[in-house]
Symmetry: C2
Subunit: 409 residues, 2 copies
């Protein structure tokens, strides 16, 4: 029911709007981002949508429904990218949503509900250091303190105003009209490709918990200090990295997605001939099932004590820098999506999202669900990120059928 | 035979010449370094020494001997410091050497040999990124390429000229007149203090070998990539850090000083939600016995292959960034120093130096040896570095007796 060529044309056009030499960079708040949005805005208008920027800086294309007051079906994703990567991350979902509107128009189908296609502002961690600004902002979930975050010579508040938002009413945004929200996204993992599935029906978006740990040893002379008289912060931190991985490997074997990664790791003084005195590391934990994360948090509190004792270093009580709960997809929408898959002949499976998404924020105020399409080798947030256009078109067809199904209820 | 108060006065005076707020910083080539040297120069002159700066920028105070042609006994150390630390490292030895000259003068003792007290230029890694410039330079051991190393707006060649050296003749320096060299230094380790010894007679200065290893994994999404499908460079590098430590602990239990430390460790992309793709680490290895280092080098070559296979990452063949052989102390001088210890009643032991020293460079052209005095908790290269003045004075007394002994041969 959708036009695959039109999807490819739009995704290619957006890929052309990138920092030269840094494919495919179109970071939120940049001139290139606004250029990309101008393209999407024009395509929305060409699809007969009435466009606006809401208070949170989201680009929205609207098509009024036949029965005013029934509410709005919202479909979309985001068009901003991480630095140096992301040809499909967010973009595939934004264009697939647009294609739904186009297909409805082509076929002369009028919905009872209002339909809105959305390009959320700044889903990725932006220059202001925070993410999902648009989806949080649309629903009044931006912490007030964020508005004064600074990047270069502007605040987040000014940044939102510059893209056309209205910070003065941002904190009180509400969308009581939302009847439901759907998002298509590339999986950003290897599972669908490996299992030769077309669509992942996302049962839950994993909670993301970030835990900071500081290991303090003693800076000693690397040449003279006997091996058995050291308090080497790097050695102790290395043990921690290995133990975290082992624990996560085991946890991942039980039901429910679980992952734990040490992605940030800084040592001091980082000098060739000095025993490292300090390591600060950040654990990124993901759990589909909250009790898994709680078990992990309890385990890590004990683990750092063991390592501190074994290696003669001091380790602080792990600090929960952020802690978001898992977000289940709306059960009725999961069934709607499954029916849609069956209608278009898509091979599907239920699965969790290990990654955070705008859907998690909209789900706090309205029924929301999302689907994944396969991507190559699970690569994402890099120039090599790839999704086949036919897979995206299949996903768009699923969205199309699901929207029509939602409209009937 | 020496005046402890005079030693304390000089060390305190030099401690007063420091970057404010950064005790005790007097880095080579800085205005503060030259201020410190002006103080030492004045004290050398007050001790009846004739001062000069040699081609390598070393400050030398000379006292002619009674029998011209017998050669020169050289005693000294360095007065430059690392950033933010080193109240005694080098300074103690420079002032102890000066005190030997003063005591000889006070007692009206004339030596047969010429005596030179030296403050070597830039023993520490300087702003030009290399160390032991003075001791290498005095003996024609500076690689020509070093002269064009740049820091700020000057080359090393210009830096040496600015402190009074003569780069035009530097590469051909020779000191065929050196009859022997002695250096006093703080131990920079905890052994003498722990064993309640006054003096360490340094049997050998450990060879220093620096080995760079690059671990390459794959940058994947930390949320979505299943734990068992990752190539995490940080996990593999952590295993390497632990295995290196284990190997070094075992090696250290056999005769001969041995240590191996990972002091530099950098990860990429160092982002919270990205599986680390790359770690570059630098091993600092020290061995008193060369075959220990050769065994270690062979072991590490095999070890990285095992880890690469176990963790699905790529590890380059370890690169020997630098590799210096151990330097034994001149056997006759070790005996001279032991006799001197016995004469002044110093409790002594033989031990290796895990740290590099100017002595290692002078030892390549003349009989050379060094002694250690205890320092507090082995701390060095930090503001907390401390040595008791009585211990330094005891060391100066040992030098005094050793110089008189050397003069008889
Ligand atoms: N989808 C996605 O990459 N989100 C970024 C936040 C995260 O999950 O780390
Ligand atoms: N003595 C000393 O600290 N030398 C610096 C070079 C080293 O041994 O790392």
């Amino acid at each position: 029911p959708v036009n695959a060529d039109r999807i490819a044309e739009d995704i290619d056009a957006l890929a052309g709007i990138t920092e030269p030499g840094h494919p495919w960079t179109r970071r939120a708040f940049s001139p290139l981002f606004l250029e990309g949005r101008a393209y999407i805005d024009a395509r929305m208008k060409a699809a007969g949508l009435e466009t606006r920027i809401d208070a949170a800086g989201n680009l929205i294309g609207r098509r009024a429904g036949a029965k005013p007051g029934l509410g709005t079906i919202l479909v979309g994703s985001h068009s901003d990218t991480v630095p140096d990567g992301g040809r499909f991350d967010g973009i595939a979902g934004t264009i697939a949503a647009l294609e739904v509107a186009r297909s409805l128009k082509d076929r002369g189908i009028e919905l009872d509900h209002d339909l809105e296609i959305v390009d959320f502002l700044a889903e990725e961690v932006s220059i202001f250091g925070v993410s999902c600004i648009g989806s949080r902002g649309m629903t009044g979930q931006i912490p007030e303190a964020w508005l004064s975050r600074v990047s270069g010579d502007r605040t987040l508040s000014q940044g939102i105003a510059e893209v056309g938002g209205d910070p003065s009413v941002l904190l009180s945004q509400k969308r009581p009209d939302l009847a439901g929200f759907l998002e298509l996204h590339i999986e950003q993992g290897p599972v669908l490709e490996a299992e030769n599935k077309d669509i992942g029906i996302v049962t839950a978006i994993a909670g993301i918990t970030r835990i900071e740990i500081t290991v303090e040893g003693r800076a000693d002379h690397a040449g003279t200090t006997p091996m058995d008289r050291r308090a080497d912060a790097l050695v102790a931190a290395s043990q921690l990295v290995l133990d975290i991985r082992q624990r996560a490997l085991e946890q991942a074997k039980t039901p429910g997605h679980f992952a734990a990664t040490v992605g940030e790791f800084r040592i001091e003084p980082n000098a060739a001939n000095v025993v490292p005195s300090k390591v600060v590391l950040l654990i990124d934990g993901r759990a589909e099932i909250r009790s898994d994360m709680e078990d992990f948090l309890a385990w890590i509190d004990g683990e750092v004590k063991t390592i501190a004792a074994d290696y003669g270093v001091t380790i602080n009580t792990p600090v929960r820098v952020s802690d978001n709960l898992p977000t289940p997809g709306a059960p009725a929408l999961l069934e709607t999506l499954e029916r849609a898959c069956d209608t278009v002949g898509a091979k599907h499976r239920r699965m969790a999202s290990g990654a955070g998404h705008d859907t998690a924020w909209i789900a706090k105020v309205a029924p929301a669900a999302m689907i994944f399409v396969p991507c190559k080798e699970g690569r994402s947030h890099c120039a090599e990120e790839w999704a086949e256009n036919d897979d995206i078109a299949m996903g768009a067809a699923v969205l199309f059928e699901a929207v029509r199904d939602m409209d009937k209820n």
